[in-house]
């Protein structure tokens, strides 16, 4: 309805290959970025920044990571949280043990460390597929967390295993306030999301999708399965690693290995299922959904049923609704919120025609 595409013709492949080929989308996206990059930090209150917006961004990043592996390269993983843990503890140790380590470098190194571990655990993917691989990634989940718990060096011999993230400072500016932390997260996530989008729309992304859709044909075309799959594991883990580091440094501040448990891995998996498998936008939508839903339920359940039912009821209801939604989405729209948005957009573009 809002689209006016007539006359927006493309006279070069560069124009045709843009992320947003339609002008109205570009305008809309720019507005969105301005809102979340400028207006939100200026206007939003501390609760929103700390408890909702920052984690949504961080989980989006992790979900992008998982989406690269699962959505684009077709390798199901149940161990995303473990790679986040690697990132979080790597960043902690880099900053702790290297004098004058710049935060952004530590962030990148944290991602690289996670990528390295990711490649290691991606190796089985060359021999095994599907469920077998999914189970194999569970091994990563348990093993990595165990290593972080069992070797106190990683937590700087903290007796409880809990580490407290150091203060974030870039070029002398300390990111202490929720606003500052949010903006930092926003920028990192924006840059990495753009890079991810670029990856998946280029030859790298096509290689991943080729392997996902039909690996024999991909091989016959000349793709090397090993290289392609391991790259997916590396990039995916990199994103999860950076997300883990941000999780520690700009979100909760103190982390312990057990915090990156299987539940968190599942949560990230749910984000991409609900958000949309194989969609960068979907990662954001899914993360927002999964972060907001419990908050919504926490507020809604007492309002609807009163407090009499107790906290247990609410948390169980939450479980049921979570699980139910997953099933619902898989049945009704296996491509998640991103596809719904896409359908809505198609409708808007064709309005007033139905198809």
């Amino acid at each position: 309805m809002l689209y006016r595409e007539a006359g927006q013709f493309k006279s070069s492949y560069a124009e045709d290959g843009r992320i947003f080929p339609i002008r109205q989308d570009r305008v809309g996206f720019t507005l969105l970025m301005l809102v979340f990059g400028v207006a939100v930090p200026l206007l939003a209150n501390e609760y929103w920044l700390k408890a909702i917006l920052t984690p949504v961004l961080i989980f989006s990043l992790a979900a992008i990571g998982l989406n690269i592996l699962t959505g684009y390269a077709g390798q199901l993983s149940l161990g995303s949280a473990a790679f986040m843990a690697v990132g979080a503890f790597a960043a902690y140790n880099f900053i702790l043990r290297v004098d004058g380590m710049p935060f952004l470098l530590a962030l990148a190194l944290a991602g690289l460390a996670a990528a390295l571990v990711g490649v290691l655990f991606g190796l089985p993917s060359l021999r095994i597929k599907g469920f077998y691989l999914a189970v194999a990634t569970l091994a990563a989940q348990f093993f990595i967390v165990w290593v972080l718990v069992k070797f106190p060096w990683f937590s700087n011999h903290s007796s409880s295993g809990v580490v407290t993230a150091q203060e974030v400072s870039i070029l002398g500016y300390a990111f202490v306030s929720p606003e500052a932390k949010y903006v930092l997260t926003f920028l990192v996530v924006a840059v990495l999301a753009l890079a991810a989008k670029n990856l998946v729309r280029s030859a790298t992304g096509r290689a991943w999708m080729a392997v996902r859709d039909m690996d024999v044909a991909a091989q016959v075309i000349g793709f090397r399965l090993m290289r392609t799959k391991l790259l997916a594991f590396a990039v995916s883990s990199f994103y999860c690693g950076v997300a883990g580091a941000l999780y520690a440094y700009t979100y909760i501040g103190t982390v312990e290995p057990e915090g990156f448990n299987l539940d968190l891995s599942f949560k990230i998996l749910f984000m991409i299922i609900i958000g949309g498998v194989g969609s960068i936008l979907g990662a954001f939508l899914g993360a927002a959904f999964i972060v907001l839903l419990p908050i919504l339920l926490d507020n809604l359940v007492p309002a609807l049923f009163g407090d009499a039912l107790g906290a247990g009821f609410a948390s169980n209801l939450q479980l049921i609704i979570f699980g139910g939604l997953i099933i619902f989405f898989l049945i009704v729209e296996p491509h998640g919120l991103a596809r719904l948005w896409q359908i809505a957009k198609e409708k808007l573009r064709l309005w007033p025609f139905p198809h």
Binding site: Y13, R206, A217, V220
Partner: protein, 260 residues
């Protein structure tokens, strides 16, 4: 026909292939000459697809040798075959269903692209230039195969005949020396078959591509092939010009006998 056949570029000698105890191919020898259209025919289960799979390294024969351009090739993986300039289509369409026609064909350019994933992540400078350059190549193929109107359509939404054409486009995108086509016209109506025939001849003519073709439609095979190999139960029972093969008593027996 003005086509000129050249030197032998693929020479298969005494190929035998087994799956467990099942013999798929037994002691098969034949060659493929540059620029020719070489057809492999035979009843269902004769081992035709296995033959193609041997040529491009999907299957590894237990016995026999394969020479490419006079050089012996040892155990070869599919991507090695691709690097050698061998492209193919599949009997059951093997397109990447989650991608658009354009992206599917772009994958065919994979081996010709040089940028690494970091450049892709930036999508700036070299990576973008490369993408544009290959897009142009792909667009030429799109025009060649007359699929302009569907370039942005996800392949899953296309009718069967068009999917076959897109698969051919993807194979062509690699600018192969040798094109292996596994039943490119199976399941098509007369008009689609005619189109596909024209495209195959055009490819052979325009790009000089050597084509190895499996096809069931005898009329088509006899029309467009330079030479024909006949397989039956994994053995070669005939080899030669279309007319020779057509009149070969062994071949006739296999076909008539097989038609019960």
């Amino acid at each position: 026909m003005a086509r000129q056949s050249g030197d032998v570029i693929v020479d298969l000698r005494n190929i035998s292939l087994r799956f467990g105890g099942v013999k798929a191919l037994t002691d098969i020898s034949f060659d493929v000459r540059e620029h020719e259209i070489r057809s492999i025919i035979g009843p269902n289960g004769a081992g035709k697809s296995s033959m193609l799979n041997v040529i491009n390294g999907v299957y590894h024969p237990q016995e026999g040798q394969i020479h490419f351009r006079g050089q012996l090739r040892r155990r070869m993986e599919p991507h090695h075959a691709a690097e050698q300039g061998i492209a193919r289509t599949f009997q059951n369409i093997a397109l990447f269903r989650g991608m658009t026609v354009l992206d599917n064909i772009m994958t065919g350019r994979a081996l010709k692209m040089r940028c690494n994933f970091l450049q892709h992540a930036l999508y700036w400078g070299a990576a973008q230039r490369e993408e544009v350059a290959h897009r142009l190549k792909v667009e030429e193929i799109i025009e060649f195969l007359e699929i302009q109107s569907i370039r942005k359509t996800p392949v899953g939404r296309l009718p069967y005949g068009l999917q076959k054409r897109v698969e051919l486009a993807r194979a062509l995108a690699a600018e192969p020396h040798i094109l292996l086509l596994d039943e490119p016209m199976a399941g098509m109506n007369v008009e689609e078959k005619q189109d596909m025939c024209r495209f195959i001849l055009d490819v052979n003519d325009h790009y000089g591509t050597t084509i190895v073709l499996i096809e069931h439609d005898m009329g088509v095979v006899m029309d467009i092939s330079d030479r024909v190999v006949v397989l039956d139960y994994g053995r070669k029972i005939g080899d030669g010009l279309p007319d020779e093969v057509k009149n070969d008593p062994d071949v006739i027996r296999a076909y008539l006998g097989g038609a019960h």
